[in-house]
């Protein structure tokens, strides 16, 4: 019989960042819906939703820099960069697993290690999110926070309508991603395994 093996995958700074970021993103999504659909939703007054959205936004920006500092200073930032030579092959395997193998009980082709905790699809997705989407969302959010103060930059970038469109489309993406992300987190060896690991830092290997 194989023995369960605990591997320390998520160091404390990453766990702290993850849950702070998660809290911020959830607040941003909820208040984002309230702000955009004030005539339909009544979760809180619009004024409070805007204030909370602003605070949560700056919270996420602060935690982003915590994340960036940790991964740059430790050199672990490379875990976000897929190896282009093996990317296609590994991506096909991973897609086959999620679309077919997982239903048959086949093992995950990606084995999580502290140095390589993401599969190639995760690498690609998180790289896009952390290096493109989230920074774009943060910058557009700051511009929308002080439209008058940043009007020169906003005009330079094509106008407030464009900035808002980027912010709204990425908002919907993050809202949708939140749902998919939470679901994918249930695909561990037990539905709660990955959730526990993000609190304890230890993933169980089978």
């Amino acid at each position: 019989m194989k023995q369960d093996k605990l591997i320390y995958i998520h160091p404390a700074p990453v766990r702290v960042w993850h849950w702070l970021n998660a809290t911020g993103i959830v607040l941003l999504v909820v208040t984002g819906f309230q702000i955009r659909y004030a005539e339909m939703l009544n979760l809180m007054p619009l004024k409070n939703a805007i204030s909370l959205h602003n605070y949560a936004g700056f919270g996420v920006i602060a935690t982003y820099f915590l994340w960036l500092y940790y991964y740059l200073s430790t050199g672990k930032i490379t875990i976000y960069f897929p190896n282009l030579n093996t990317f296609v092959e590994k991506a096909v395997k991973q897609i086959k697993f999620y679309g077919y193998g997982i239903f048959r009980g086949e093992p995950n082709p990606h084995v999580m290690t502290p140095e390589n905790k993401f599969n190639v699809l995760q690498q690609k997705a998180y790289m896009g999110i952390m290096f493109v989407l989230l920074p774009a969302q943060m910058i557009s959010g700051v511009f929308l926070w002080k439209v008058k103060g940043y009007s020169d930059y906003i005009h330079l970038l094509g106008g407030i309508r464009l900035i808002d469109t980027i912010h709204v489309l990425f908002f919907f993406f993050f809202a949708s991603f939140l749902v998919v992300h939470c679901y994918l987190a249930t695909l561990g060896h037990t539905p709660l395994a990955h959730f526990k690991a993000m609190f304890t830092g230890y993933e169980e290997h089978h």
Binding site: F103, I160, R161, F173, A175
Partner: protein, 382 residues
């Protein structure tokens, strides 16, 4: 007996109506030129002293500036307002009374007066503060304000006494509201208002006047709408709006449309009252808000007046207007549809995958059982 023709009767009634309908101003036989005979002298002033204090008052009136005033444009002469001057006595040192009666604007502006009487600015008289029309409008150089930006309107009026930053603590994004929304839009919610679209040059940081725009387009004022409104419905729709921008670009003019929410020049704007200001954010920041129903393209004139041309509200909710967005209120509906598809896609993916996961539980149990059986057999055979 002399026969009276229907035409003569009509003319008679027309004269009667014309007399009744004319403004209640009895023009004295004193021309403005007589007044400017003395008052165009820049050094003209009067002073009084009671031995303790000294008072000096400038009596010079800039004729050029007065000639651009709304009153002059409407044929209102000096003695129409200074109605206590009936005659001029040129034998006297001062040809009229030294101390004139206060000008009574209410003689003509009855609707504005009624609104003002029901305002906080009238009520403060009970506290010993007297606020006259001139406190906001000035005296001799009152100009039309239709063409003014929010900043100019506020500086000409409310900001003379009020510093908006000392209040409005409840209001998020104060700067943005103060920059794009005229005070009375919120402080007199019943006042008619519209989105005011003017031409702004980002390179020179200046607004184009209507005359400049017409000159750039090479057309006369009366050709503007016929050229723009190609479907002849009297409203500038999204396509026509985009055509205008294209025409300007073809003339190498990269003007943007600067949008502001302003009140119309309606007497009701004088009815500002404490506690009645709009505080409901969703009144503006919600889809189909009535605050964005009226949209006008404005060709400003040098005298402060402006020509307004009705614009389809859809322009506010399109990419044609790239430099204005009121949170929620002028949102692009297409983005909502894309957002719905993104969310629906995410949920469908999750629910579909979860359903197959649940449906294939027996298969995984069977495979696991067979795998366990084969491993046991392997161990036994060893």
């Amino acid at each position: 007996m002399k026969k009276i023709f229907p035409l003569q009767i009509s003319i008679g009634w027309a004269i009667v109506f014309a007399c009744l309908a004319s403004p209640p101003i009895a023009r004295a036989a004193i021309e403005n030129s007589e007044c400017f005979g003395c008052h165009s002298d820049a050094s003209l002033s009067r002073s009084e002293t009671d031995g303790v204090s000294h008072m000096s008052e400038q009596l010079f009136i800039d004729e050029e500036k007065f000639s651009h005033s709304v009153h002059h444009h409407n044929g209102i002469g000096c003695v129409d307002c200074h109605a206590d001057i009936k005659t001029l006595n040129y034998n006297a040192k001062v040809p009229h009374a030294k101390q004139l009666a206060p000008v009574n604007c209410t003689m003509c502006h009855d609707e504005a007066t009624a609104a003002f009487k029901n305002s906080v600015h009238m009520k403060i008289r009970g506290k010993g503060i007297t606020m006259n029309c001139s406190a906001c409008h000035g005296y001799h150089y009152v100009r039309p304000e239709e063409s003014l930006t929010v900043m100019e309107r506020v500086n000409n009026g409310c900001a003379k006494c009020h510093n908006p930053y000392q209040s409005h603590d409840w209001l998020p994004q104060k700067n943005e509201h103060f920059a794009f929304v005229e005070c009375v839009v919120c402080h007199v919610p019943e006042a008619p208002r519209h989105i005011h679209l003017t031409f702004f040059d980002l390179v020179t940081n200046k607004f184009y006047t209507g005359q400049e725009i017409l000159k750039i387009l090479g057309i006369a004022e009366n050709e503007f709408i016929p050229m723009l409104d190609t479907n002849k419905d009297g409203i500038i729709n999204v396509d026509e709006f985009e055509n205008l921008e294209l025409m300007l670009r073809q003339k190498n003019v990269h003007a943007i449309f600067h949008a502001e929410l302003v009140a119309e020049m309606h007497p009701i704007v004088h009815q500002v009252n404490r506690g009645t200001a709009l505080r409901d954010c969703t009144a503006c920041h919600s889809a189909d808000s009535p605050y964005f129903e009226a949209v006008t393209l404005v060709l400003t004139k040098d005298d402060g007046s402006a020509d307004h041309f009705q614009v389809d509200r859809a322009v506010l909710e399109s990419f044609s207007l790239r430099h204005f967005y009121a949170l929620g209120g002028t949102r692009i509906k297409l983005l909502d549809k894309i957002g719905f598809l993104l969310l629906a896609g995410g949920f469908s993916l999750v629910l579909g995958h979860l359903a197959v996961r649940i449906a294939t539980i027996p298969l995984r149990r069977k495979n696991e059982y067979e795998a366990n059986q084969s491993s046991i057999q392997e161990e036994v055979s060893k």
